[in-house]
Symmetry: C2
Subunit: 453 residues, 2 copies
Amino acid sequence: MLHQRALRHLKVTVLCLVLTVVVLRGTIGAGKFGTPEQDLDEIRQHFQTSRKRAEPHRVLEEIQTGGGGGGGDSGDGGGAGSNNYETFDINKIFVDEGEEEKPDPNKPYTLGPKISDWDEQRSDWLAKNPSFPNFIGPNKPRVLLVTGSAPKPCENPVGDHYLLKSIKNKIDYCRLHGIEIFYNMALLDAEMAGFWAKLPLIRKLLLSHPEIEFLWWMDSDAMFTDMAFELPWERYKDYNLVMHGWNEMVYDDKNWIGLNTGSFLLRNNQWALDLLHTWAPMGPKGKIREEAGKVLTRELKGRPVFEADDQSAMVYLLATQRDTWGNKVYLENGYYLHGYWGILVDRYEEMIENYHPGLGDHRWPLVTHFVGCKPCGKFGDYPVERCLKQMDRAFNFGDNQILQIYGFTHKSLASRKVKRVRNETSNPLEMKDELGLLHPAFKAVKVQQTNQA
Amino acid sequence: MLHQRALRHLKVTVLCLVLTVVVLRGTIGAGKFGTPEQDLDEIRQHFQTSRKRAEPHRVLEEIQTGGGGGGGDSGDGGGAGSNNYETFDINKIFVDEGEEEKPDPNKPYTLGPKISDWDEQRSDWLAKNPSFPNFIGPNKPRVLLVTGSAPKPCENPVGDHYLLKSIKNKIDYCRLHGIEIFYNMALLDAEMAGFWAKLPLIRKLLLSHPEIEFLWWMDSDAMFTDMAFELPWERYKDYNLVMHGWNEMVYDDKNWIGLNTGSFLLRNNQWALDLLHTWAPMGPKGKIREEAGKVLTRELKGRPVFEADDQSAMVYLLATQRDTWGNKVYLENGYYLHGYWGILVDRYEEMIENYHPGLGDHRWPLVTHFVGCKPCGKFGDYPVERCLKQMDRAFNFGDNQILQIYGFTHKSLASRKVKRVRNETSNPLEMKDELGLLHPAFKAVKVQQTNQA
């Protein structure tokens, strides 16, 4: 067993070494980098099981958002004085601000300066700031839901409309459950663009907000479809990372979809900082991300060929470093913290017929996640009509649970129109709201004075 | 004085009588309606100063959202199996659900059944539900910010992108200030479409949520540009309605822009219900709204010709019924609860140079409101480029105040790109956030057990 593990570690190390050498020597030439032993050291520091980290402190360079066109005033989109939006070209009004600085290829990527006493810093702060407790009720941690999208308009015209409906959906769930929202539209680190952008953001938010006990990352293409389901916080009291997934698929099969990073909980502590640091190295765009992608496709089961993504990297990290991280990671499959839309959306009518909100699982999924639909881009992995139609159904399915509080419902899951299902009354407070969402128990929180750090 | 007032009342009554008779006899014929005396009675009940209301209880009919196209599957937008969003026609996937029922022309419009004991109902409920107090801190009322947009995609491609940025902007302000958000996308009452849609919505939310002390309505085209400004709640303790405006312009001049209903506070009490009831009658779409529009254009100063809008109706209501409502209405002009964009957006750089957030007024406006821009529609009142460019600048102006908390800022007010302005540190909690927005005092609230109903 030990022998096998040692071999596995060595294999990982060698792979990473090859990776780095290929990338760096391709860009800067062999002379500047030093000996293979030094290369190996750098790589080992990132992936070794004792979680020691590389030291270099690097100020993040100016970054690009990945968009923003050119040009100054006016343009042919609609004329200088035109009031007509239809023919206007949005990209004509943005100014391209300066050149972006290229990251220094000599320095390995880092999310930020080393912090090894975050638990102490945080508990000190909480003790000094009782008005910002990390628990807002018994068994009720303070949670920040983090989501976002790119700062530029979607390439396809209806994409922004779905982003809008998606954030409304999240606003509704979070209002009912006493959760705050951070909607990000800024790229904090140009190297970590795309799906990796969440890592610098998450780290920044955890360190800025010690009062947050759990950060809940949620993709913009994921929607709440069970407004009544409260997360079982008690279940996670000994865990730091909760993702939807299956132990066997991750640890035994190394299946690239054995877990999902589109909706997950991360506790605010040192362990999380260490995890982010270990997770990040496959992210920097360009050759690192491309080469890492090849490693992941080779090492993980079922993974297509494409650049490294954060989810595959997480599977790989857990599968190869189970001893380091596994005991604090909860792979949840008792309810749909993430629910793949393909197996859910055709069953909504059946769910309405047979079940009720509050279950969170296959009977009434907490989250329906439209992986692969990519409504903001030009092309998705599925037919456009199927995606948009189902996204509207999912939205309406969730929205109905909000509307019923007020006596309304959508005319059908396909319809934007709503209809009244309960008459107005002159005694509105005697009305019983069936789902108990009007003044939900999980919202009736009292502020605790003692922090449970 | 009394003589003049009596004459004014009579004039109002006669005008309304003429209005109703014209409308009703035009639609249903003279025979069904009865005598002029009965007509006069109905009208008088709506506009009389003692606030007695018309009795009929009418169940709201099924409503339309004002959009939603036709067709079932597929269509020529992109082919049945196409993954290409660019050529896809969104309207092909929606089903037109049933016919809408027409409102009964015999019955005057009403927002709902008469309630005259709402203060008692509400205080009883608050006493029984100490976990949902209406004050969440000393001098800190529970506030619900209400906004929204139509359920269908914007006619112009970038409109939804601006709605998205606008709601992110509101999420940021409200998170800092402990305010909850309700984003509405449902048309609750087909007759009160467009700008009047807020009335049934506001009434519904007040009656459903007795724990709300103030409802803050805010248009989707209004943005927060001072993230540090907390509303002076104490100033309003004896008032029920707060709007930006000027007494002289409303009461003396009857100027149609003497106040603004794009951003206002309404306290949750009987007075508010009575106000909504009195405000509503000019709203029902069709002939009533058109004819009411003519009255308003004639009676108010500077008003263009168009159907009755809620803002003009409010000016008219206050100017003609000052004795009834005036003592509980605060026309605020000490800061920009609503700030007309035209006189603000070109000064942002000057503001940054000379002032700082937290002022809320002409030096650093709380709200920049893009009246007339209409980015969701096809045509606005101003050139498209001017509107969109300035909306981006306003968004960035506000967003910079959020980003600076985390050590970033936009490269310029015109740029989507952000740049770092503060290095990462291994002691993030020792960092002083200049604006005090990281853990703002107005957020450090304790839950009070006693309700101040």
